[in-house]
């Protein structure tokens, strides 16, 4: 059963290549790229596909990943700059053209539904296949906390090859043997320190040389930039208003489009009637996939028209009467009797003993992303030689996918589509979706020669998201009560949720669904239980679900870490001591847990009405533990401080790692305290920050982040792992403070 399912997944990856994305035959034997690849202009010289230098000594590094706040431009540029010994203040970044060398291989490998502890021939084969086909497919994508993990070797290799080329160019220019030269502080020097050439002086020499195989990469002890809190490259533009987000794209002849999406999921517009004539500022109304768009010189006017001046004939989606209560009933039935899509066991199933069950059921709601920058995409369809070309400007997490969808929508070849990725005003997984590019190209086809900027209101954003799945889980433990103290015999969990990894390829490139759960949602807890069983049931339904910062970890961590806490209490043990005993074989997890205990003052007395809670979750290759300290008064919950310990392996930029932990915590806390999307009559009930709120300064806890170095050489992700532990840490703290166990998100005291 297991083998068949896994084979199907690999088959799906292969099918993805054949059916959807098309083959790029990756003739390159590595990911270095030719040095003309990175749009090399006059007064520039390409050193390889990732690095070019300018006459003024500037080093430009290709960053083919979306900057959505996670600091990816800074982190990736530092990898290249480190190995070429560039000075940080001479480094700039730029978007490279789409090419297979810039593919994100790690994101495909990471997308496989295996727990990190799992190994064996089948897992190895799947990893190999994903790597292989990642190369063939050439996916440019940002997500899954994969960017640094993916770039760690290729971008450092690019830097090392660049340094070698600079040394040989300087030798050629000066006649000094290569062996006597070094790159230091952004110029080529003699080993005794005398300057031989600035980078900009070597442009003409480089043309005559070809890249040699990569010299050995630096040892960590030789790092000068990696591991330092280098200032972020994107910040200056972000404090002056100069940074260009998707909504800031201004092109000659630009018009704006507001959208009204079908009220029920999967619905569509079949027609519309404008009340009276079109007002000034609105030129055209068009039916777009999923809704209608009003296009004109003013987005504000167009949006107002949609709200007040138009009647649309809507085709209902498949579940027009869906409501939250009905959905929970459906999930409860599945929890009871649903056939698991995945069953996993560890340990030996215990023989019947004198046991009593200990059971708890947990709930997590649908969540919207609410990126600060509302959803948008700008598209231009132009005539060329009797055919069409398409240009896209978009804050997006996968230019490869956007190009594919734009080409399909406009019925042109992918080669006739150009995608420009702007800064993203938040991504969180939402900007991997293709709904906006479909709508924007549809509008642009109706306005040939005019760039059309489609922008959704916040209301459309919240009501037409691809939601973090709602999920239901029942944990059950068997406790041996024959002795003096109760003893843990086994644990088992049944969990119900829809699967974003099943839905996403279906709705984007038309792959058949395979009924498999999302990998993050079914990762095993790290604890060495005497016996563990997981049954994951995949729910069907009309509500679209998608990737949301840490995806399934965000609810599964709540289920698992709440239950472990309850179990500790039932066994009359300290929550931390209980976890430690079950982590005896996991030194990295233990060190993270011990760090957070020490730094949070675990066990130190707190005033009455206050409490601490702990939670631990490994995700995306990193291990994070958090202790939340809460105060509860008059049924009002305040999260006072959060102590966080993280082991992410080698740290590229400690300031960014800290910032990402804080960011993940606040994002997770907004969900834990306020986040809940509910349905009535097939539609989402929430509409704006007024009823789908986020943590603000006044309720933001003090956050203290500690980086744990366990000596691991394996790079972990950092954009998402801060999010999963916060909800259970707060819930466990509420229990410590009040004795009240909250088993549903968001956490409500009354």
């Amino acid at each position: 059963m297991k083998l068949t399912r896994r084979k199907a997944i690999i088959g799906g990856i292969i099918a993805g290549g054949v059916l959807g994305v098309g083959f790029w035959f990756a003739r390159e034997r590595d990911r270095l790229g030719h040095r003309t690849l990175f749009r090399v202009g006059p007064e520039e010289a390409g050193l390889n596909g990732w690095i070019k230098i300018k006459r003024d000594d500037t080093v430009v590094v290709a960053v083919p990943r979306a900057e959505m706040g996670q600091g990816v431009q800074t982190a990736l540029a530092a990898l290249a700059a480190e190995e070429m010994d560039a000075r940080w203040d001479q480094v700039r970044v730029d978007d490279p053209p789409e090419h297979v060398v810039y593919r994100n291989v790690e994101i495909l490998i990471d997308g496989l539904p295996f727990s990190p502890e799992e190994s064996g021939a089948m897992v190895d084969m799947a990893h190999w296949a994903a790597g292989k086909f990642g190369g063939v497919l050439g996916v440019l994508a940002t997500g899954g906390s994969t960017s640094v993990r993916d770039a760690w070797i290729p971008m450092r290799t690019a830097g090392a090859v660049a340094r070698d080329l600079l040394l040989r160019a300087a030798s050629r220019k000066s006649g000094v043997p290569v062996g006597e030269l070094v790159v230091s502080d952004g110029e080529v020097r003699r080993k005794d320190g005398g300057r031989v050439a600035r980078f900009g002086e070597l442009l003409d020499q480089i043309e005559h040389l070809s890249a040699m195989p990569a010299p050995p990469l630096k040892k960590p002890s030789e790092f000068k930039l990696i591991g330092k809190p280098l200032p972020r490259l994107d910040i200056p533009a972000k404090v002056t208003g100069a940074a260009t987000f998707g909504v800031d794209v201004r092109r000659p002849g630009l018009v704006y489009a507001a959208v009204m999406n079908a009220p029920t999921f999967g619905g569509a517009a079949s027609g519309f009637t404008v009340k009276g004539s079109l007002p000034k500022g609105v030129e055209k109304i068009v039916v777009v996939p999923g809704g209608v768009a009003a296009i004109g010189s003013s987005w504000w006017r167009a949006n107002k028209l949609l709200a007040e001046g138009i009647d649309v004939q809507w085709q209902a989606g498949p579940e027009p009467k869906l409501d939250s209560a009905g959905l929970w009933r459906r999930y409860e039935a599945l929890l009871q009797d649903g056939k698991p899509a995945l069953t996993r066991t560890r340990g030996t199933e215990p023989k019947p003993a004198t046991t009593r069950p200990f059971e708890a059921t947990y709930r997590a709601p649908y969540l919207a992303h609410t990126t600060m920058e509302p959803m948008n995409c700008t598209a231009l369809v132009a005539e060329r030689d009797g055919g069409k070309t398409v240009e896209i400007w978009m804050p997006n997490q996968s230019p490869t996918l956007m190009r594919l969808i734009a080409a399909k929508t406009a019925d042109v070849a992918q080669a006739d589509v150009t995608v420009h990725t702007t800064f993203l005003g938040g991504g969180f997984g939402r900007r991997a979706e293709v709904d906006l590019v479909r709508q924007a190209v549809t509008c642009a086809l109706a306005m040939p020669g005019r760039p059309v900027q489609v922008l959704w209101s916040r209301e459309e954003d919240i009501r037409h998201d691809y939601y973090r799945p709602m999920a239901l889980a029942r944990w059950r433990a068997e406790l041996d009560t024959s002795g003096v103290a109760p003893k843990l015999v086994s644990v088992a969990k049944r969990q119900v949720a829809q699967s974003p990894t099943d839905q996403f390829p279906a709705r984007t490139i038309g792959l058949p669904t395979q009924g498999k759960p999302e990998g993050n949602a079914v990762e095993n807890p790290p604890y060495d239980f005497p016996y563990y069983r997981l049954d994951a049931i995949v729910a069907e339904g009309a509500v679209p679900v998608g990737f949301w910062r840490s995806v399934g970890h965000s609810h599964t961590a709540f289920f698992d870490e709440s239950f472990v806490d309850e179990l500790a209490h039932a066994l009359k043990q300290d929550a931390v001591a209980f976890r430690r005993a079950l982590l005896a074989g996991k030194p990295r997890h233990l060190k993270v847990l011990e760090t957070v205990m020490r730094e949070s003052g675990w066990g130190r007395p707190l005033p009455s009405g206050s409490g601490r809670g702990v939670a631990l979750r490994a995700s995306f290759g990193s291990i994070v533990a958090q202790v939340a300290e809460v105060a509860v008064a008059n049924n009002a919950l305040q999260v006072k401080r959060v102590t966080c310990a993280v082991d992410c392996g080698p740290v590229v930029n400690p300031a960014i790692v800290r910032a990402q932990m804080e960011s993940g915590i606040v994002y997770g806390l907004s969900a834990a305290l306020y986040g809940e999307i509910t349905l009535a009559d097939g539609a989402v009930e929430q509409s704006n920050f007024t009823d789908y709120d986020a943590v603000r300064l006044a309720d933001a806890p003090a956050i203290d982040v500690h980086l744990v170095d366990s000596g691991s050489a394996i790079v972990g992700g950092i954009g998402e792992p801060g999010t999963p532990p916060i909800a259970p840490a707060v819930a466990n703290a509420v229990f410590a403070a009040t004795g009240k166990r909250l088993r549903s998100l968001p956490l409500k005291l009354v």
């Binding site: 900057e67 959505m68 706040g69 996670q70 600091g71 200032p231 972020r232 994107d234 910040i235 200056p236 533009a237 972000k238 404090v239 002056t240 208003g241 940074a243 987000f245 909504v247 800031d248 201004r250 704006y256 010189s297 003013s298 987005w299 504000w300 006017r301 609410t370 990126t371 600060m372 920058e373 509302p374 800064f423 993203l424 005003g425 938040g426 991504g427 969180f428 922008l455 209101s457 916040r458 300031a655 910032a659 804080e662 960011s663 993940g664 915590i665 606040v666 994002y667 907004s670 704006n688 920050f689 007024t690 986020a694 943590v695 603000r696 300064l697 006044a698 933001a700 003090a702 956050i703």
Partner: protein, 156 residues
């Protein structure tokens, strides 16, 4: 025709009187620093100064600023082409922005706060800055507000 001053320059626009200032800035004047976030004055991404006071420009009709002086993030450091406003300097020093979309709003709200209250407490800051940042840069914002206050007081 509605006339007002934006970042030191005269502006004259012929638009509906109820068109929000935010959209006049972004669509008619090509000033895109103030950001659209919610349209209902709930998030603060569109914050600008009108006669020195922080306002949420998505919910202010342009007719209401006739004859007034509007300052956006682009004009905050006006008068010193090569330097930045103390709040912007503090924002860089404390490495505040992540995605950065909400930051023009936070910076403008902070500049107005510090004009009214040169040495705000954490509580003052919490009350004055009710903007939303989905990247959760709040800790860095608190530090940067204090730092900007100190820079404005002549600190180095």
């Amino acid at each position: 025709m509605i006339s007002f001053t934006v970042n030191g320059q005269p502006a004259r626009v012929e638009v509906e009187a109820d068109k929000p200032l935010l959209w006049v800035l972004r669509e008619d004047l090509a000033i895109v620093g103030p950001k659209f976030g919610c349209g209902v004055a709930a998030c603060g991404a569109c914050t600008v100064h009108v006669d020195g006071e922080a306002v949420r420009s998505c919910s202010v009709a342009v007719a209401g600023v006739a004859g007034k002086t509007v300052t956006t993030i682009e004009g905050l450091a006006r008068g010193s082409a090569t330097t930045l406003h103390a709040v912007q300097k503090a924002w860089i020093e404390q490495q505040v922005p992540q995605c950065g979309y909400c930051q023009p709003g936070f910076i403008m709200a902070t500049a107005a706060l510090l004009k009214a209250n040169a040495k705000p407490t954490d509580k003052d800051i919490d009350e004055a800055l009710s903007n939303i940042c989905r990247c959760g840069t709040y800790g860095a914002i608190r530090r940067a507000v204090h730092r900007a206050a100190s820079l404005l007081a002549g600190g180095s």
